[in-house]
Subunit: 259 residues, 2 copies
């Protein structure tokens, strides 16, 4: 399988601490050694770092654990290949432009029969179920809306309805963002935490590493982390339910829906 | 203005030497300090490194001058902003998916009246003339062909005809690749060199740095570099003519057309 990591924040925030724990699972404390990637939004712009090699020993990933790129929206993924061979084109996150926005997506799980989902607007470059499904979602949205809809609830419920279809085909845990909204769909494994004042210390599960958020933040900061498995040992993480859809915006969980 | 750097090779080759000279012009030996980017193809996959900060003092760019990513097709760009403010979304190279391939593009020059070029398939995220024009080209190609055409000459001549239209609107020096073909259009400044056996030493113009390609290559290697201004002082670079279109594939210049 794979592991997902997402961040939504109300001020540009670095993800070095969470990424340090997450990337260790990319072949060291976890088996997800078949590639890794991370996408950072800075305004409407987005930049990604990707490699088809294991994350835990990657020089680029190592640099990113020490190089604080400040962003309000981040998605990262470490891969354990099942659908599609180990290659750069099969490495998450995937990205497409729609309505003049970069959409970034990563998936955890495996889907049976995904090839039957019809494609229209955009097509996969690699061979994974994940990228095919992303292209299907983008195509469906493009057919339904001519621009980003103003009714957010209706829009995210529509994405949730795609998640419900996909969950019937296997396991579909997903993060998807346009840099403002972080849309999360849970099939079986997805946890979240929102950190806000009063901040405290946090300690990673996967590395001898802790951070005192009191020294890193201001009182108005709100930062949410979404992940396949909790990253810290001394905090309370909320487990999402099967079929649950959640949307974070600038750190706050602003919408959720349980099945 | 800006500067372009492209590479086409018949074996996966690193671009560290050329990039070291090119990136110095990003605010040190040249004025192009308003962002930089580089895209590497590995098979059908592509990964980019981008920053809206100056390249010459970027920690990520510094790492890339020492970290040999092997690729057959690379495009890099250093920016001096004119159309569009300094921001990540306005930083080249730009990328879109078409026909299940990642297309990467970078532009040097400034165009008047670009807003009138109609868009269909894909839309710009930022505000530059460059990205608008790229979206126009991708849209035109998408309307004309339902998949990558097999007649390469006709296909590249079509892109050349778009270049001819754009050159009338100002300056349009361009590199565009799908990882296999490196399509180059010259408005006023574009040079190229093909290195093959017998290899020799080369010395950068912008840095105290030379390389002995005899130690870095095998006799069958063919590597072409395309750039806005020559990067080395002891080699002969070919100057492209205004209106010239050239296509490189796996290192070889396989097609060219002068006006």
């Amino acid at each position: 399988m794979c592991e997902l990591l997402g961040m939504s924040a109300n001020v540009p925030t670095d993800i070095c601490f969470s990424f340090a724990g997450h990337i260790k699972r990319g072949g060291d404390t976890g088996p997800h050694k078949d590639g890794w990637g991370i996408s950072f939004y800075e305004g409407k712009g987005c930049r990604s770092f990707k490699d088809s090699k294991p994350g835990y020993c990657s020089r680029i990933a190592k640099m990113l654990t020490n190089y604080p790129i400040k962003s309000k929206s981040v998605i990262s993924h470490i891969r354990q290949a099942n659908s599609g061979r180990i290659s750069l084109e099969n490495t998450h996150p995937f990205q497409r432009e729609l309505w003049g926005k970069h959409w970034t997506y990563a998936h955890n799980g495996q889907l049976i029969g995904f090839e039957k989902l019809p494609l229209s607007y955009t097509h996969p470059v690699g061979e994974t179920d994940s990228e095919h499904v992303f292209c299907w979602i983008i195509g469906q949205l493009n057919e339904y809306y001519s621009s980003l809809p103003t009714d957010l609830d209706e829009f995210t419920q529509r994405i949730g309805s795609y998640g419900d279809i996909l969950r019937e085909m296997g396991v579909f845990n997903m993060l998807m963002t346009d840099g403002e909204y972080m849309i999360c769909y849970c099939s079986n494994n997805l946890y979240w935490i929102t950190r806000r004042a009063p901040f405290a210390k946090a300690e990673l599960i996967d590395d001898i590493h802790f951070v005192d958020f009191r020294k890193e933040t201001t009182d108005s900061d709100v930062v949410s982390i979404i992940t396949t498995q909790p990253l810290t040992k001394n905090e309370h993480w909320h487990k999402m339910q099967p079929g649950e859809l959640a949307v974070f915006r600038f750190g706050e969980r602003m919408f959720y829906q349980n099945k």
